[in-house]
Structures are given as structure tokens and as C-alpha cells.
């Protein structure tokens, strides 16, 4: 019967064991750290991915779909990685190598290591369902925790957006809204409640957000967005804007400012049973003015207060906006840039139309004619 030492010696004979210099000379090699989480957290090799030995066989194909790729596996001293390299061979990886001496020798020789940013055990638990998704994982969750998202409006769209963004662990949420909570809001604005009737919506939303996730830093702006205050607010450094405004002047103002500040806008708008959702990303796609150069005349642009809105509609549209915002913050997936999604909730039907940047757009076009804030109320009333 073979002892551990016999097995290790035999395994090392059967695999390719390389020293640091040889490993570093392998072009485009994938470095796989097979140690346990606590070891990884105390430092690892630059550019390495962490796949604990116990999960190697089940997860390696996710990180190394190409069996011909050069792979360097390492552990603390070179023993676990020898067995790991053997397993990779058996899985058909033809160029798997074990790093002799492992992390310990690497560090002792003064070679570069990096200290990983990691989630605390509490955050690891809270966000565990995100961590399990390969597209998000720890790296993606850290991006969400670093993200700063500004919500325009804490009403129908802003309510579900703020709650789901908070639940997702967006690190900083800004909220701009001048209104107070009234009873007619509660049919749809789920961030508010009977307890906060009469309170400023920004404070009510902040309370709901922090009750759900105290991790989130909430920055409130209890003011109506105007040409005078928008630069100050945007200068607080937002990665993206979720636009849930309730009037055209603000929509055009947010658009112009976002183009000039180079901040993507996740757009949502609603009326009765219908919703429109898209992403305006400066330089990569159209802006709001490319899509709608002019607002409709007032009689064709009733507000929800005048025409009504199905209570759940802002829930659907606001969460679709949140989906776009989370993907943009994590840097994953296909965004709605260049596509306008149309929802008819009465027919339960989605449609999609293509939207393009207009080279003649007065704001984001090749030769802009609007380069500073205008009187947006007048612009929208003049139709």
C-alpha cells in the first residue's frame, strides 16, 4: 500500500513541475491558486484566479474552457498543486504545471504578491446568492459595493429601484426629490409607508433603504433638480443615473447634463399601462434628444397625476431599470444601449425598437448647438 509520500513522489514524476522563472516565461498562462480561502485572503500571486482544490474539477472549465491553455497551479508549498496538476491532466489539460515551492517560496524570493480585497464574513453571507453567480462573484460584488448611483426621483420608479439597488449592495445611493410622501403615493411607491406620510420622500426612502441594508451610504438631495443645482449634485461623482423623473423639463435637463458630465442614464418612463426603458450612454449610443428631439404638446403629455398609472407598472419598469443599472455597475451583460424596450402591461407584451445616435443632435451630435443649460420649462412649454 502506498503512503502519502509515495503517492506524492509518484505524482510529481507524472506531472510537469516548474520553478518561478520557468512559470513566468509561459506566455498567456492562467495562474490558478488552489489553496483555501483563508490562505488566499492573506495574499496571492498577481493575476491568479482562486479555485480551491476541492472545487478544482467542478470549476476549472469555467475559468479555463480551452484545454490547450498553459496553466500554472500553485498552493502553499507545491504538494497540493502537484495533485491538482495531475487532476487537470486527467481532465485533458495538456499544459498544466505545478509551481515548485508554491506561494511560500515565491514570497520568500521577494517576488510580487497582491493582497486581495475581500468581503467580510457578514457581507459574504448577505450577498451569497450573488457570489454564486459566475458573472458576478466576489469581484462583481466588490464593484457593486464601490458603485455610486444617483436616483432622480424617489417616486414610482425610484422606489423599487432604490430598494433593489440597496439590496444588491450598491455602496452609495444618491436620491434627488423635493416632494413629501402623501397618501396617493402609497398605491405604488413602495419605499414609502404610512409611517412616513408627510415626511420628505428622500428621508422616507433613506429609512427604507437602511432598514433593508445599512451597508448603503445614502446621500439625499431634498431639492428639485434645476440648471442651477445639477452640476453641484453631479460633481459628487456618480457612476450612473437612474432617471425616474416625472416631467419633461427634468428629463431634458438630466439628458444634457449627463452628456456633458459623461454619465450613463438608465431611463424609464411610464403612463397608465405602458412603459419605456432604455440606457443612454454618452459616446456609445443615442441620447434622450436623439430619441425624442421635442416633447409632445402638453395635451399629449399628461402626468400620472392627471391620467393615472397602474400601481405595479413602476415596479416592473423600475426593476428593469435596476437590472440595467446593476449590469452596468458590475460591467456584465448586454445593456439596452441603442434599444428602446416598450412594455404594454395590459396585453403583457414587450416590444423593442432600435434607436440610433443622431449625428445632428443639438447636444450629443457632431456639431452641438446646445452647449450650456437652457430654460427647460420654456423649451417644453413652447411646443
Amino acid at each position: 500500500m502506498a503512503t502519502y509520500r509515495d503517492l506524492l513522489a509518484r505524482t510529481k514524476d507524472e506531472i510537469s513541475e516548474v520553478d518561478a522563472a520557468r512559470a513566468q516565461s509561459l506566455d498567456g498562462a492562467l495562474w490558478v491558486d488552489v489553496r483555501e480561502l483563508d490562505e488566499w485572503q492573506e495574499g496571492h500571486l498577481p493575476g491568479a484566479v482562486h479555485v480551491p482544490r476541492g472545487f478544482l474539477e467542478s470549476r476549472i472549465e469555467q475559468v479555463a474552457p480551452d484545454r490547450n491553455q498553459e496553466i500554472v497551479v500553485y498552493c502553499a508549498g507545491g504538494n497540493r498543486s502537484a495533485f491538482a496538476a495531475k487532476s487537470l491532466q486527467e481532465l485533458g489539460y495538456e499544459h498544466a504545471h505545478s509551481l515548485a515551492g508554491g506561494f511560500t517560496d515565491w514570497k520568500r524570493n521577494g517576488l510580487e504578491i497582491v493582497m486581495p480585497r475581500t468581503l467580510s464574513p457578514e457581507r459574504r453571507t448577505r450577498y451569497s446568492r450573488h457570489l454564486l453567480i459566475p458573472e458576478i462573484g466576489e469581484e462583481g460584488q466588490l464593484k457593486l459595493l464601490d458603485a455610486k448611483i444617483l436616483l432622480i426621483g424617489a417616486g414610482g420608479l425610484g422606489s423599487p429601484a432604490s430598494l433593489y439597488l440597496a439590496a444588491a449592495g450598491i455602496g452609495t445611493l444618491g436620491i434627488v426629490d423635493a416632494d413629501i410622501v402623501d397618501e396617493t403615493n402609497l398605491q405604488r411607491q413602495i419605499a414609502h409607508s404610512l409611517d412616513t406620510l408627510g415626511a420628505p420622500k428622500v428621508d422616507s426612502a433613506k429609512r427604507a433603504i437602511n432598514a433593508l441594508n445599512p451597508d448603503v451610504n445614502v446621500v439625499t438631495y431634498r431639492e428639485r433638480l434645476t440648471s442651477e443645482n445639477i452640476d453641484r449634485i453631479l460633481d459628487d461623482g456618480w457612476d450612473l443615473i437612474v432617471d425616474g423623473a416625472d416631467n419633461f423639463p427634468t428629463r431634458y435637463l438630466v439628458n444634457d447634463a449627463s452628456v456633458w458630465h459623461d454619465i450613463p442614464v438608465v431611463h424609464g418612463s411610464i403612463y397608465r399601462f405602458e412603459g419605456q426603458i432604455t440606457v443612454f450612454k454618452p459616446k456609445e449610443g443615442p441620447c434622450y434628444r436623439c430619441l425624442f428631439p421635442e416633447p409632445p404638446p402638453p395635451e399629449l403629455a399628461p402626468s400620472c397625476a392627471e391620467g393615472g398609472v397602474l400601481g405595479v407598472l413602476p415596479g416592473i419598469v423600475g426593476t428593469l431599470q435596476t437590472n440595467e443599472a446593476i449590469k452596468l455597475a458590475a460591467g456584465i451583460g448586454e445593456s439596452l444601449v441603442g434599444r428602446l424596450l416598450l412594455l404594454d402591461a395590459l396585453a403583457t407584451e414587450f416590444n423593442e425598437v432600435r434607436i440610433e445616435r443622431n449625428p445632428d443632435c443639438p447636444v450629443c451630435g457632431d456639431h452641438p448647438t446646445i452647449t450650456e443649460y437652457i430654460d427647460y420649462v420654456e423649451f417644453c412649454a413652447a411646443r
Binding site: G156, S269, Y271, Q276, P295, L342, D344, L346, A347
Partner: protein, 90 residues
């Protein structure tokens, strides 16, 4: 006959219909036919005999402004979407 989808704010002009039919080989002919069938709707979206500035027209998901405008081809099987901006986030 093509299907024309009517936005909520223009349904009163179309007798309350969510979609109506109209025919034409291109957008101009279609809007002219639409005006004959639904004069009130027609006057809103084709009153000046040109594309309305505040209602986007999509033929099979493509904005006619990025195609051939009023000359954009329309087929019998086409779906036309008339789409004004909506402001609401309420």
C-alpha cells in the same frame, strides 16, 4: 393591411383603439390612409403632411428617421408603432 399601434395618449383620436389598420406601400401612403380612416388621429400625426416632430414612427422596429423617412417601405405584414415621449416616473 398593416397594423398601427396607437399610444395611450392618442387613443381617443382613434376611437379608443389600441391598434388600427391602414395600408400603403410607404410611410407617406400609410399616414394618408390613416388620416382618411381616422381624421382626428391623422391630424395629430400627419397634420402638416410631414413626419410629426414629437411622435416617433417605427416600421418593424426601425425608426423611419434613420431609414427613408416618409418614403420608408411598408409591407402588408409590417407593424407600425407611433411613439411619443412619456415623462412619467411617478
Amino acid at each position: 393591411m398593416s397594423v398601427v399601434r396607437i399610444p395611450p395618449v392618442l387613443r381617443a383620436e382613434a376611437g379608443g383603439a389600441r391598434e388600427v389598420e391602414a395600408s400603403g406601400a410607404n410611410v407617406r401612403e400609410l399616414l394618408e390612409d390613416l388620416t382618411v380612416r381616422h381624421p382626428a388621429l391623422g391630424s395629430r400625426v400627419y397634420g402638416e403632411g410631414e413626419l410629426p416632430s414629437f411622435v416617433n414612427v417605427y416600421v418593424d422596429g426601425e425608426d423611419v428617421r434613420t431609414r427613408d423617412g416618409l418614403d420608408t417601405e411598408v409591407r402588408d405584414s409590417s407593424t407600425i408603432i407611433l411613439l411619443p415621449a412619456m415623462a412619467g416616473g411617478c
